[in-house]
Amino acid sequence: MSETATSPHFKENAHAALADSELQRSLEILETNFIGRRKLVADKLPEFDALRDAARDIKNHTLAHLDLYLEEYERRVVAQGGHVHYAVTAADARAIILEICRSVNAKIVTKGKSMIAEEVGLDDFLTAHSITPIETDLGEYIIQIRHEMPSHIIAPALHLSKAQVAADFRRVHTQLPADRNLEEPQTLLAEARAVLREKFLAADVGITGANFLVAETGTSIIVTNEGNGDLTQTLPKIHIVLTSIEKLVPTLEDVSEFLRVLARSATGQEMSVYTTLSTGPRRSGDPDGPREYHVVLLDNGRSAMLGGEFREMLRCIRCGACMNHCPVYQAIGGHAYGWVYPGPMGAVLTPSLIGIDKAGNLPNASTFCGRCEEVCPVRIPLPKLMRFWREREFERHLSPATVRAGLSFWAFFARRPRLYGFATDVAARMLALMSGARGRFHWLPLARGWTDQRDFPAPQGATFQAQWRKR
């Protein structure tokens, strides 16, 4: 929930992250695995860039007709015996889900991975109402027992070492022998599998997200590698799909395009292990499956984005490629961003959802290197959107006073070339003199941020303009 966002403390968060050697070690894996694998698999598919263009165009078309596709989607879901619920706010979503859970006296709810569930703070809410939510995606399960937020939208436990996970399993799985060997990832996974298998079979309600919704057939699609989402939605009496309005895609052919770019961009796989298309509850003749199928469609600020300069952000398919390639994310990890969505996509989306006043640091902490946009499978111009947020901040006078003052001072000169030329020539020669023969400054007032960790090169002497005018 937005109340728990620590995004206003981004600088402090980043400072802690930079000093956290466990985290730094974990982040190195990101660079060698995700980036390399994506490149390999993208290079193997000649049509990859054309697919990105197609994916972008399909999303643009869908967003421009979102009201109509939503109507069609709802019609198809209902025709198959499912229910569609519209949740304008996070509170609405929580209330709807609680009511559905209460209708079957649910005690245990299993959950597939869902960023929307994090966004609306579902787990804490259910717990407060005496319903036990159990995350079944291994990464989400690990952070659930640590009471943490995910640090990456695809690999939520990326920031943890296996030793940390082992310690948490020992702390929580008290029914198992305390001295058991938990050295290897295999044993950790086997333990999680056994513990969670029991929960899958005991759950009354299963909640998943949806990577895509297909208007043509009233279908929700989840994409996983573990199979947890499938066990979550197949075994309990009720399957709830908690999702958001921009996940809609018109047809099965359209979804094929996205399936071709999603796994490749996210993990460097050709396809995730399980891509599951669900359409409604158990049919007559179905020996398994949920008896009820509910789709909760969340808005929470997205329809507002539709009408403004951040519409392009609604194309996002949550692959995580942007954060994998971002030098800032690679340096500080996901928790520093303070909320559910980290990295470049988080920097653009978070202010829309929790406000630029809380999340102002996020779009500012970027070098605009452009690598995110370069790898985005739906070609979202992330740096440009971050700059739009900076413009909004500037207009609303939200940037720090020192920054505005500095900018005003600089702009005064920059708009007056002759005056600028005179002032800079004086300043450059003075600095050159001050640096003597060293050619650099070890320390410079007003540039402490730089000189704390870097030397500052000195000017050569008179400016180029001054020298040129003299010729």
Binding site: K11, A14, H15, L18, P327, V328, Q330, A331, I332, N364, A365, S366, T367, F368, C369, G370, R371, E373, E374, R387, R390, E391, R392, E393, F394, S399, V403, L407, W410, A411, A414, R415, P417, R418, Y420, G421, T424, A428, G436, A437, R438, G439, R440, A447, G449, W450, D452, Q453, R454, D455, F456, P457, A458, P459, Q460, A462, T463, F464, Q465, W468
Partner: protein, 259 residues
Amino acid sequence: MAGPRVGLFITCLIDFFRPSVGFAAVKLLHEAGCSVEVPRQACCGQPAFNSGDRGDARAIAEQVIAACETFDYIVVPSGSCAGMLKVHYPELFRGDPNWQPRADAFAGKCFELISFLVDVMGVTASSAEFAGTVTYHDSCSGLRELGVKGQARRLLATVAGLTLIELQDADVCCGFGGTFCVKYPEISNAIVAKKVANIRASGAGTLLAGDLGCLMNMAGKLARVGSGVEVRHVAEVLAGMAGEPAIAAPRERKAVTTP
């Protein structure tokens, strides 16, 4: 009949910190057959633009366009400033019936220096000599906004005596980011530290790039960690003007040391 009339957009960093790069650019342009003038405007307005101050950015852009639009080409020895002029100026004036056509026409004439020499003037070789090993960093804006990648490497390959070693993660940001290194210095430092580790691991004696901001950032970190790697703008080497003290290096020329 003289060749194309080029307006050299000097950029505020080169103007202030390292005019020798400007003179190297002039030399390269003369050698390619261009006549060169230098309009008074030094800054492209990017600091204002990236800080969300569209008003100041527009005002500066109008001045720059008015001062430069009569040249055949506007050449910029910096990928990020060239990107500002070529890609972002048209964005600043989108929808403005008076300025949009002027901005579009202006943008069409703007080029980063090295890609101008190679792609427009057809320069295929450098007559310079440089005895040493060199590694090259791809500055982000030049690379991703303007597609500047192979041109500098191709020219460097023709410099007599020069050995080019590819830099690991050459296309990864150095952490400068204009105002970023001032607003988020710790994160910027973490990023440049990785870059410096790669530079040192390359074994090259000299680091080159096409953007002075990146170069100052990397040079400053290299100096702080005691590395002897020399840092220069690629134009200096291509123009055979690599005799000046390197960026952040001491004024007196010491005996050559190995990095």
